[in-house]
Symmetry: C2
Subunit: 150 residues, 2 copies
Amino acid sequence: MPRATAATEKKVTDLLKRQTLSVTESRKRILQLFLEQPGALSHGDIEKRAGGMFDRVTIYRTLQTFVDRGLIHTIPSADNAIRYALCKDECGDGHHRHEHIHFVCTECEQTFCLDEVVTPVIRLPKGYSTDQIEILVQGKCKQCTVAERR
Amino acid sequence: MPRATAATEKKVTDLLKRQTLSVTESRKRILQLFLEQPGALSHGDIEKRAGGMFDRVTIYRTLQTFVDRGLIHTIPSADNAIRYALCKDECGDGHHRHEHIHFVCTECEQTFCLDEVVTPVIRLPKGYSTDQIEILVQGKCKQCTVAERR
DNA sequence: AGATTTTTGCAACTATGTTGCTATTTCGGT
DNA sequence: ACCGAAATAGCAACATAGTTGCAAAAATCT
């Protein structure tokens, strides 16, 4: 877990300022963790990777703040461990607009956003209305498929 | 929460025997809870509805057993509360085959299986393979929509 | 730099989920 | 209907996850 370079330091600071959030150590560090790697992170993942640098409560609150401001979004799961991933720029204060699906790899156990796969329209029976659609695909990811062929 | 009639008593007993599970009070009661109402139930829901009749651990283990035997299936959620719903007959020992989507109502907060809505095929990028697809739609359900019009 | 506002860390608490062990219940055979 | 073997339930203890109130510390504004 590399320390922040000047460049990433500036990047996370900018992201926070853009959301009019005060720039604090924990926010910078947690945001950096998301930028450092492609997958989604659970609260527990962050706690481990931050290495006891912050209080658990701070991490909970920071994640909640990021979700509220549209910096990250939640990904449901079947194992009682909500994961969080960075949002693209379209998400703003309290509004999340996600058209992509989420992929859970059974090999590396990572969860990714597949931005290039758009959620299809789901036709519901009469009387039902749709607010939001979440698509969770489980399988083997690209990296793990390649790794296995070797 | 009505006590089991002779008819439902027989029904749950038959369901359990069909899976070669021993017929115990807790299994009968928990299965009955699922049959009594249309929505999905979380562990907590069952604990409440069973009214302290069984130990928490028993409920956890019973749910796990039911999932293993294909009597019920899990539904992921974004609020760290896995829900369980009855399976149709196609699910057997260790194999779950679900083609339906799940609907979460924002009004009544219930989760249902929409058996009539089939999960679409999702085309993934090269290198990814699919084991399972879970579709979670959030919105307002039929009952709540009707209730509001009155 | 100082006042104000926001955020953090701590403590305490609730809820959720797991494991090992023993007592009880269920089931198959008679 | 009863008995022994096997499965299940309950208990205790523990582990993990998430919440709230409050005082100390840090960030922001001017």
